[in-house]
Amino acid sequence: MSRIREELLKTRDLSFAYEDKTVLQSINVTIYRGERIAVMGPNGAGKSTFFLNLNGVLTPGQGEIFLEGRKLEKKAFHELYKKVGFVFQDADSQIIASNVRAEISFGPMNLGLTKAEVQRRVEAALDYMDLQELKDRAPQYLSGGEKKRVSIADILAMESELLIFDEPMAALDPVNANLVEQIIDRLHTDGKTLLIATHDVDFAYRFADRLLVFSEGALLADGPPEEIFQKQEVLEKAHLKKPAVMQVWEALTDKESLQTDFAPRTIDQLTAYLSQTVK
């Protein structure tokens, strides 16, 4: 695969404060097209605030934002929602309409599209999230997992290239968490750029090709997961553990001196490797 890194969104020295409380300090991040980025860090580290700045809901006190290499005027920040979709952590605080179809149409309606185009996008999002059967339902009669799917469809219908998920698996049961992970994989396959906040190191290790670690409003680390999860001081400062697969692999490579370039990211890869080599 040719790897021309196309810049999608960039922040330079982005800082943000709620009233007088500084929450983000001088954040420099460049997001490239097609990346899968996991954003980690303890509660209150500033992840959600960072996302709201990228999406144009909050306006940074200082710093610049570049979209596809072009520097944005400060006035244009609030237009970022057209390019950056944001799925909130809590589906209930995102859903506003009184039925699923109307709910999904809210974003596209605000994009100033024709009615036919809004309709097309709503239908496409309903299909993509497998919600056709629920399209006339009221949000108050949906389960937690269904609400989550609706809140994702909301954003898909806006057809933005960069999708941000704020702790998408929080408060979901394992079945629904699994479903959301499959959806995320599918979105990557379909060419979306993904930025996902999570506390689950195993998921981050499976999913991400890049890791951003926040701590107390600063960007503590930015790089490939296999490197960052090796940095003891980063893990300690951000209260992160090593992914289980990585721990097992390290234990194996230490003792059995299985020296390879390969390092498994998932349980499946690990077991496949083991069943091949260890007879």
Binding site: L52, N55, G56, V57, L58, H78, Y81, K82, F86, F88, D90, D92, S93, Q94, I95, I96, A97, S98, N99, R101, A102, E103, S105, F106, G107, P108, M109, N110, L111, K115, V118, Q119, V122, D136, R137, A138, P139, Q140, Y141, D154, I155, M158
Partner: protein, 254 residues
């Protein structure tokens, strides 16, 4: 709030909302204007029939929701029918120590008329309430050119009522498992605590809700795609026949 649930799961949910509102309000007006027992009866028959057959509302549920208003209506009709007097001046009189409870034929007729009229109105409003989700009802108001701000407020309030209810329920359960409703006094204290927490929580959440609206480009106008639900020819013919029947019943029969 249960009514809301039935409205979403009625066999008539997919009917045009404006049509249903018009039918209910029209029935109400005709019943009042004509003020005839046979028209009230006819309206009760048709409206209850719609709710139960077309709407597929279980008859027990319907009866359950009618009990309280019906009891009220019955009580007030009885008050219309009876009269208290010192002399037995009615057609039927019951002596009670110093005075008589008198009932006249005229009184009974008036009471029946009022009772049936109220019942007909109730059945028309129930037909609407049990088949029209609030969101669609609000859209009808929007079509009537109510101020946009009012309509949007109704939309948001409607949505957030359910979230608040859920939250309140969760808190209540949490209090219950910690025996927060042990005694009456404790119950009041717990309730006050929940009410206070709900208020604070709402204020905190309001900001998040606003952020979520802004994240999808909210710029002061709440707009959704609306389902186009044309009135079918059958429905239109049915409504026309219904109105014609009422007019004939009202004007050409003695």
């Amino acid at each position: 709030m249960k009514i809301d649930y039935y409205a979403y799961h009625s066999g008539m949910t997919k009917w045009n909302a404006g049509f249903k509102v018009l039918l209910a309000v029209g029935t109400l007006l005709m019943v009042i204007i004509f003020n005839r027992v046979r028209i009230s009866l006819f309206a009760i028959l048709v409206m209850s029939g719609l709710t139960l057959i077309a709407g597929r509302l279980p008859i027990r549920t319907y009866a359950h929701y009618l009990t309280i208003p019906f009891a009220f209506m019955l009580l007030s009709s009885v008050m219309i029918a009876v009269d208290f007097a010192g002399t037995p001046k009615g057609d039927f009189n019951f002596s009670l120590c110093f005075f008589y409870v008198c009932v006249t034929r005229q009184g009974i007729a008036t009471a029946a008329q009022v009772l049936l009229k109220a019942f007909a109105g109730m059945s028309a409003l129930y037909m609407m309430a049990f088949s029209t989700p609030m969101g669609e009802f609000i859209c009808v108001l929007q079509n009537l050119h109510l101020p946009g701000l009012l309509v949007e407020l109704m939309h948001l309030i409607y949505r957030y009522i359910f979230i608040l209810l859920e939250t309140a329920e969760r808190m209540q359960t949490a209090a219950k498992v910690r025996l927060g409703y042990g005694s009456l006094r404790q119950g009041f204290r717990t309730f006050a605590g929940i009410a206070g927490n709900l208020f604070i929580l709402s204020m905190q959440k309001a900001e998040r809700y606003y952020d979520a609206l802004a994240a999808r480009g909210y710029d002061g106008k709440l707009e959704f795609l609306r389902e186009q639900r044309p009135v079918s020819a059958g429905q239109l013919a049915g409504a026309a026949a219904y109105i014609a029947a009422i007019i004939i019943l009202g004007r050409f029969t003695r």
